[in-house]
């Protein structure tokens, strides 16, 4: 893959139809993957409310995010008093096991020293001893993808402690679905691995029907488990684009001297093989029969469907880890990724040359992309399909080609929280969706109306 050459396309100073959300969103999502943790956004009331609405539209679960609710006064004199009041109130009302504070462009611009405010807060005996983790997430510095990794990194930096190794393994996935997280935990169980997944919003963001209203939905990585992450024997970053300062796994392995692995999102046969190989190595157990069978079925499906997909061209976008994961996966199936785009800035650096070329076609890798620029590029790229979140409907509608929904947010379809992008099984589901989208398109765009394809 080559970094995209924007020359010849009209480049705009503004961002038109952004392909990313702001950093605190990613941080709050990560915090909701910690058990009984309430996120608190240190900024305007709107920051937390917009984020809540966005997350709710995808997961369809209660998502309470507190705000320190800046006023004009706090913007001038500093927001630390508001932050402390907010902590008082949120701890009183929610009785959380942890509060995750994400800063905003507002609090960062006025230079609020959140760590100092938190030290003062606990020194004054307020907060009932509830741990407070803070992450710096001004949206002028990064997108939701970085906010997500940053929050995880902050959580381990401030909570994890060392000690005798307990033989466990830490896993740091990118933004994937609750269904993906459940599948990951099943895989670990089947390997006999004592794994800690952080964050784990598999239950908290996709829970059952309740008998009573819970202040915070159940589920998530317990704070105690994060505390023990320093005692693990290995840490694994999942995703190819995690930069060193945001890598929780790298931090833990360096601080506590255990093994560190970085592996791509296990999407597609080769990426899954690599991931399962690591699990096998670390557990000392062979890949369970069940997964070998899944792999077999997936390979069989690739073969069964290859004629439908041959030569198809796709535009792929999303957070760097997901977008690159999808691009690698579909190249295995004969689909060419003509554009792999992200609204983040860290993809091309992390992803460099690991993507194979097919038939000498050079795929464009675009950092800092927006959907309108992507649409303009598509006039030359002539894709047959678009793969990514619901926001790509804009491309799909304008180009008259199918959108295969994946990632976050999916808020124009039902069940985004149960879409799979992980493991052989997740790849299988994803693959079926892609093939079916092509078949459906062929069926609907053909005047004969074939009922047998």
């Amino acid at each position: 893959m080559n970094k995209i050459d924007f020359s010849g396309t009209k480049s705009f100073t503004s961002t038109r139809n952004a392909c990313a959300l702001c950093a605190p969103l990613g941080a709050t999502l990560a915090f909701r993957g910690i058990e009984n943790c309430i996120p608190l956004v240190h900024g305007s009331q709107g920051c937390s409310t917009y984020i809540r609405r966005y997350i709710i539209s995808h997961f369809r679960e209660p998502v309470d995010i507190a705000s320190s609710n800046f006023s004009e006064e706090s913007a001038v004199f500093g927001g630390s008093e508001n932050l402390k009041t907010a902590l008082d109130n949120v701890i009183r009302q929610y009785h959380p096991s942890m509060v995750g504070v994400a800063s905003t462009c507002l609090s960062e611009t006025i230079g609020d020293d959140v760590p100092m405010a938190l030290r003062e807060y606990s020194a004054s005996g307020r907060g009932d001893g509830v741990p407070v983790v803070q992450v710096s997430t001004p949206s002028y510095r990064g997108t939701h993808a970085e906010g997500f990794r940053g929050a995880v990194r902050s959580a381990v930096e401030s909570i994890a402690k060392g000690g005798t190794s307990d033989g466990s393994i830490n896993f740091f996935p990118p933004i994937i679905s609750p269904e993906d997280l459940r599948h990951l935990k099943d895989i670990l169980k089947d390997f006999g691995i004592n794994g800690t997944v952080l964050p784990d919003y598999s239950e908290s963001m996709d829970g059952g029907a309740w008998e009573n209203y819970y202040k915070l939905p159940a589920g998530g990585t317990p704070v105690k488990a994060i505390l023990n992450m320093g005692r693990a024997s290995a840490s694994i970053d999942i995703g190819l684009c995690v930069t060193a300062p945001l890598s929780a796994g790298r931090f833990l392995s360096e601080k506590f001297g255990h093994v560190f692995y970085s592996t791509g999102l296990p999407l597609g046969i080769e990426a899954c093989d690599a991931f399962f190989r690591i699990l096998s190595e670390l557990s000392g157990n062979p890949v369970p029969e069940k997964y070998l069978k899944e792999r077999g079925r997936l390979a069989d499906a690739y073969i069964d469907a290859h004629k439908y997909l041959a030569g198809k061209r796709a535009v792929v976008y999303g957070e760097p880890d997901l977008a690159t994961g999808i691009a690698q996966f579909i190249e295995e199936t004969g689909v060419k990724t003509v554009l792999c785009a992200t609204g983040s800035r860290g993809m091309s650096a992390g992803f460099s040359s690991s993507l194979p070329q097919i038939d000498g076609v050079k795929c464009a890798l675009a950092d800092d992309a927006d959907f309108t620029t992507m649409l303009e590029l598509c006039r030359d790229l002539k894709p047959d399909m678009v793969i990514g979140s619901s926001k790509g409907f804009y491309l799909s509608k304008n180009l008259g080609i199918p959108l295969i929904r994946a990632g976050f947010p999916v808020h124009d379809r039902f069940g985004g929280q149960r879409l799979m992008h992980f493991g052989y099984q997740g790849t299988q589901q994803f693959f079926d969706r892609i093939v079916n989208a092509v078949m459906e398109y062929n069926q609907n765009s053909n005047s004969i109306g074939y009922s047998y394809i």
């Binding site: 961002t15 305007s44 009331q45 004009e72 913007a75 932050l83 009041t85 009302q93 008998e211 202040k215």
Partner: protein, 452 residues
């Protein structure tokens, strides 16, 4: 056990038990998980439906991203409002200032999209880094020959209401800039209807049938040129009074145009909205026509409403919406389908609004300003409601509690205004309350005393 936070105790009242005024109009308590948004949100929602204007959000990415094509405000023509433009400020802009980026962004976008006007929304940090947005707007306006209007909507500068006010100020700079003179016939501007799912079109059709000329629907299927000549109208008809009364007052002061407040939700309020306009036209003919429309439309939906009412009779609702005028209408509309309101609140109501709510609600009704999910769940639980009316953020609260839900927010795709809207509303409520799915909700079973 959920309790109301100390700092909020005076924002909650129960009719009959505590009839002191509801405290309101204040900033949300830090840490209270308010359902409100910010100043920017207030401005953005009011101006969003101006479909042939460029809407450029000046600031980092998030504010623009969250407001990309999320509202159901329809346009009969241009759809530039459905695009999301951001100056996407970066660290270097925060340090060195974003004026140059703003100017370039405006110049390029105006050239590429030929809008009739441009609104530039200042978000939180713009005020802090000291960008002179007014100066940039003036300069680009001169260069490009279209109005480029700054909207001072820094999120922390108050509440959503202050954002409404900033939007009204922005609109007022457009009004009266057209030379066009429209004289003679009785004419109105429709203010504060956002054409969600085509609602403005429904309302406009009624008024036009009465013989009223509609000069502009500023905030629903809005057009810059219509807004510029809006000062020609004989009357401003204001819905969503919390957001648009400010503009109506400006127009009264500057152009002597009187205004009335109306609501298009529910049978009484919809009818009243037609009668009030007809009366002010002083035309017997119009009053007669308004009567005919009401009669025709009501008789068309009445039988079906009666059928729905049979199923819903005696059920109880909680209502939590943005503006309190909508809450008034919903209390009345629910009565028409046999339901009473046990909990009612809004994000932005005034003391008088809550006083009026107390008048029209039953004894024991909880009246609340700027509530939060935990409080709301407690009130709903205490009162044993069968339905919650709110927006997307309230929906999961209802569903987890095994309570039916009706979306009455701006993201909905079904028109709930007008007479036909009343029928849609009744059907929406009915379809959720009467759904067979509730028997699988443990919370519902517990509430209804259904045991294995």
């Amino acid at each position: 056990m959920i309790t109301v936070l100390d700092g909020r105790k005076n924002q909650v009242r129960e009719k009959g038990r505590d009839d002191r005024p509801v405290e309101c109009g204040r900033m949300s308590l830090a840490g209270s998980v308010s359902q409100r948004a910010c100043v920017f949100c207030g401005s953005r929602v009011v101006l969003y439906p101006v479909a042939d204007a460029l809407h450029l959000v000046h600031g980092p990415l998030g504010c623009a991203a969250y407001t990309w094509d999320i509202r159901g405000s329809l346009s009969s023509g241009p759809e530039l409002h459905r695009m999301s433009f951001s100056t996407d400020l970066r660290e270097e802009d925060v340090i060195y200032g974003g004026e140059k980026k703003l100017r370039l962004a405006l110049q390029e976008l105006i050239e590429a999209y030929s809008p009739k006007a441009a609104f530039v929304y200042s978000t939180c940090i713009v005020g802090l880094i000291g960008d002179d947005v007014n100066a940039v707007c003036r300069r680009v306006s001169c260069e490009k020959g279209i109005p480029v209007i700054p909207v001072h909507s820094e999120g922390f500068r108050g509440t959503k209401k202050d954002g409404y006010s900033a939007a009204c100020t922005a609109l007022s700079t457009l009004i009266g800039t057209s030379e066009e003179k429209i004289a003679g016939e009785f004419s109105i501007n429709i203010l504060g209807d956002f054409n969600i799912a085509g609602e403005t079109w429904i309302i406009r059709k009624y008024y036009e049938e009465m013989g009223v000329r509609v000069i502009s629907c500023m905030t629903g299927d809005g057009r810059v040129d219509d807004i510029r000549r809006a000062h020609n109208a004989s009357l401003n008809v204001v819905q969503c009074s919390g957001s648009m009364t400010g503009l109506a007052k400006i127009m009264q002061r500057e152009y002597g145009i009187p205004f009335i407040r109306v609501s298009y939700f529910g049978l009484e309020d919809m009818s009243q909205a037609l009668y009030d306009v007809a009366k002010l036209s002083c035309s017997g003919e119009m009053i007669k026509k308004a009567g005919n429309i009401v009669k025709r439309e009501v008789s068309e939906i009445y039988p079906e409403l009666q059928n729905i009412k049979r199923d819903l009779e005696g059920k109880r609702a909680a209502v939590y919406v943005g503006g309190s005028f909508k809450a008034f209408s919903l209390v009345k509309a629910l009565r028409h389908i046999g339901m009473s309101v046990a909990v009612v609140g809004s994000q932005t109501g005034s003391e008088e609004d809550y006083e009026y709510l107390r008048e029209i609600c039953d004894e024991g009704t909880v009246i609340v300003d700027d509530t939060n999910p935990l409080e709301l769940s407690k009130f709903m639980d205490d009162k044993g409601v069968d339905l919650l009316i709110g927006g997307v953020k309230e929906r999961p609260i209802a569903y987890k509690m095994g309570v039916a839900f009706c979306d009455h927010n701006h993201e909905r795709k079904i028109p709930l205004a007008g007479f036909e809207g009343m029928l849609h509303f009744a059907k929406e409520v009915h379809s959720s309350v009467m759904s067979p799915v509730w028997k699988f909700s443990p919370a519902y079973r517990l509430r209804k005393g259904i045991y294995e």
